[in-house]
């Protein structure tokens, strides 16, 4: 994975020849032309949320202007148009992660809701006192707290896989955590705080060897790499639209149909029922059983537009471009002798977390902000990771397909300014 800069340059040239032209890509994102504090916006907080291409913004406008009504219930024309558009988006997302069937794609508010859904619904029929759930120390809080709820409700306990100093998952320790009481593995595909790409196919294979299903948090993976849920054999795979250049308030729970079929509904309401009487109700088929209430219709359709956008560029070009950004940023930031990079696994997505000796990340973040550079400072909703490295916070630059080497230079100039203000 440690391709030399020359190799990376060659691959970038190849990618550009294939049609990945970052300046053209940038022109697709209206917000990137904004200025903040009278300097150009340098947006490096994509791990928190990515900006939206015009096609996604237009999709939302198009839905409300031409094809909006409630879905799956009207006999009238507009309802059918909206239903067709939303189901077309579901099919696009199915293809995007290569799920076997569209009914395995459940629209939810985001990855957080997806994990809460599985923890509550799957947990209800599968977790008993003393049962064990394995997760890693580098999970986002959204893949920890729902399982803590499940522990409180069902009496289960959490087992935590450690990471080494580079931020790699310790696979031998992972294998040893399995017991006769292990019921589920909940694991990130890419760490939001460190950038580590976990060996998810191996993680799943080992779990399946023990007869244990796996939920994968794919939030930070889907914007950066091709995901094939059938090839990795994930049982559940969750991600949010807003990190994938789509709208906020919409996300996806993928689950194997057999697992989802066996699970009780998560929320009750309209859309998710077959028949309701005061003696009892029967529930709709997948995916509607888990889609109670009127969904974020325009958001789901626009998430389909985001998938179209990413597919149009192609992951070959995106991955090569982002790999170049990561290696360039690692080289430039690594050149500061008082900066420590947190998370140095050989296999990383385009995320770089770091701390500066004697300067708190929040102070650095404020100064960078005035240079137009938006980075995340804090614990990144991953406090166990901060504890693991004995820091309270880090500065995190997380890159997207529209970032450039010039923007990394702006970050480095901003870091020089931080050091200047702090008198170093």
């Amino acid at each position: 994975m440690s391709a030399s800069t020359d190799t990376v340059k060659t691959r970038i040239a190849a990618a550009t020849a294939d049609g990945f032209d970052v300046e053209r890509v940038r022109a697709d994102f209206p917000i990137l032309g904004q200025r903040v504090f009278d300097v150009p916006l340098v947006y490096l907080d994509n791990g928190a949320s990515a900006q939206k291409p015009r096609s996604v913004i237009d999709s939302i406008k198009h839905t409300y202007e031409t094809q909006y009504a409630n879905v799956h219930r009207g006999v009238h024309y507009m309802s059918q148009q909206a239903t067709e558009a939303m189901e077309a988006a579901r099919e696009k997302i199915r293809g995007f992660i290569n799920a076997g069937e569209a009914r395995e794609i459940i629209f939810v508010r985001g990855a957080t809701e997806a994990i809460n859904l599985v923890a509550a619904s799957w947990g209800q029929i599968n977790l008993k006192p003393g049962d064990e759930i394995i997760l890693s120390v580098m999970e986002h809080h959204s893949n920890i707290v729902p399982w803590q709820f499940a522990c409180e409700r069902f009496g289960a306990v959490l087992k935590v896989v450690p990471i080494d100093d580079s931020g790699e998952l310790m696979m031998a320790e992972y294998g040893e955590l399995f017991s006769a009481r292990t019921r589920l593995v909940a694991m990130t595909h890419v760490s939001n705080a460190l950038g580590t790409i976990t060996p998810i196919a191996d993680i799943i294979r080992i779990a399946h060897d023990h007869g244990v299903p796996v939920l994968v948090d794919g939030c930070q993976a889907v914007p950066h790499m091709e995901v094939d849920v059938q090839a990795m054999d994930a049982d559940f795979y969750v991600f949010s639209g807003h990190k994938l250049y789509g709208p906020s308030g919409i996300g996806v729970l993928y689950g194997k149909a057999a697992l989802l079929d066996a699970m009780p509904p998560y929320q009750g309401g309209g859309e998710m029922i077959q028949q309701v009487t005061f003696e009892g109700s029967t529930y709709a088929e997948l995916p509607y059983k888990f889609e109670a209430g009127t969904p974020h219709i325009a958001g789901a359709i626009a998430m389909g537009a985001a998938v179209d956008y990413v597919n149009g560029l192609g992951f070959a070009g995106i991955a090569a471009h982002e790999k170049d950004l990561l290696s360039y940023a690692t080289e430039r930031i690594g050149a500061f002798n008082n900066i420590r990079i947190i998370g140095t696994a050989p296999d990383k997505a385009a995320i770089i977390s770091f701390v500066i000796d004697g300067i708190h990340p929040h102070d650095a973040g404020t100064i960078l902000d005035r240079e137009g550079v938006a980075v995340r400072t804090g614990h990144h909703c991953a406090q166990p990771v901060m504890d693991r490295y004995d820091v309270t916070a880090t500065i995190r630059a997380s890159f997207a397909l529209y970032n450039t080497r010039d923007e990394i230079d702006a970050l480095v100039t901003g870091l020089d300014r931080v050091q200047e203000i702090f008198g170093r």
Binding site: H360, G378, H379, F422
Partner: protein, 150 residues
């Protein structure tokens, strides 16, 4: 860049690098903790209050330059003051950093702390400046629970 150099004045950097009254005085009789969940900053304030006067004050903290400097300067300022005076200073400081209230922008009794007025230009950082003050107020009022700014 004036706003930045206003915020990170030498006096603030000095207090953040060499915080005064840092530690945990054993004879303290009031204490409170403060936590800012947004950035993870933590502070513990220890007061020795005798006959309504703050005879001694120390603190321990992990945090950014703004929160450390504010805590350090605050302890210098309130030592030897009455509880009522400390409470009034809290009001003045709050007005200084938020730009709100009758005393906004005056802060005449705040001495070095007036340097923190620059934080007004950085709304996301005001909570850093006020963390120590909230903890001090909680300690004076004898609140046992941790105060949070978010």
């Amino acid at each position: 860049m004036n706003a930045l150099t206003d915020l990170y004045q030498e006096v603030i950097l000095d207090h953040s690098r060499h915080p005064r009254n840092f530690g945990h005085a054993e004879d303290a009789n009031r204490e409170a903790k403060g936590y800012n969940p947004l950035c993870g900053d933590r502070i513990a304030i220890y007061l020795r209050v005798e006959d309504g006067v703050i005879a001694d004050v120390t603190f321990e903290a992990k945090g950014c330059a703004i929160s450390l400097a504010s805590a350090s300067m605050m302890t210098d300022l309130i030592k030897g003051r009455s509880e009522d005076e400390a409470d009034a200073l809290f009001g003045q400081f709050y007005a200084l950093v938020t730009g709100n209230g009758e005393d906004a922008g005056e802060g005449g009794d705040l001495e070095d702390l007036e340097a923190l007025g620059g934080v007004r230009e950085f709304p996301s950082r005001i909570k850093c400046a006020t963390l120590a003050w909230h903890a001090m107020k909680a300690a004076l009022e004898g609140e046992a629970t941790e105060v949070r700014t978010e």
